[in-house]
């Protein structure tokens, strides 16, 4: 398994601003994932962050809204841009280990006013 940390753990932001969420893993991993869990909803994959290439976004998510960086094999950032109240959510990063098992960070709770 891996130890995954996220910063910040929570934030309250004003609409129209942007927030960058950091994800740090204690071991090198090829693929990192960013998920969102909106209130009352399940986990939804935003994008897959691959080191050395552009992130791959899922349907309904675009790079302009959720730019992702992956500068090395242990770190990634997700930016939530031009935020609106609909972006209020828990944002989770995860890594994939053998057996198709995702290991998740603790999450970032975002409230947009």
């Amino acid at each position: 398994s891996a130890v995954i940390s996220q910063k910040p753990s929570r934030d309250i932001c004003q609409r129209g601003t942007s927030l960058t969420i950091q994800c740090q893993v204690d071991s090198q991993v090829t693929m990192m994932f960013w998920y969102r869990q909106q209130p009352g909803q399940s986990l939804t994959l935003i994008a897959t962050a691959n080191q050395g290439s552009e992130a791959t976004y899922e349907s309904g998510f675009v790079i302009d809204k959720f730019p992702i960086s992956r500068p090395n094999l242990t770190f990634s950032t997700l930016t939530v841009s031009n935020m609106s109240p609909e972006d209020s959510s828990i944002y989770l990063c995860s890594v994939l280990f053998g057996g198709g098992q995702h290991h998740f960070g603790p999450g970032t709770r975002l409230l947009v006013l």
Binding site: S42, L43, L92, G100, Q101, H103, F104, P106, R109
Partner: protein
Amino acid sequence: DQQVKQNSPSLSVQEGRISILNCDYTNSMFDYFLWYKKYPAEGPTFLISISSIKDKNEDGRFTVFLNKSAKHLSLHIVPSQPGDSAVYFCAAYYNAGNNRKLIWGLGTSLAVNP
């Protein structure tokens, strides 16, 4: 349409009894199933998984049963403990062209009462 459904949003059981959490899926293309547990303010943690070639997998107090004909799986926790109180997510993989997609259920909140 690929969906994973957890139709019970909540479940309450007595400590020491069995907890049974259910999950249904809509498509026979799903081939690998996982259960995760989530405590408040934490990310989900992997519990147990099962491949579609099996019908049962056991790990300590946790057993997952897969009924492919019914497109149904269940997680049994025996005996249930107060520390098991959490939200349980069912998730399943299917092949979508060149990619494997992981679809999540909405979760079931389990409360184990002392």
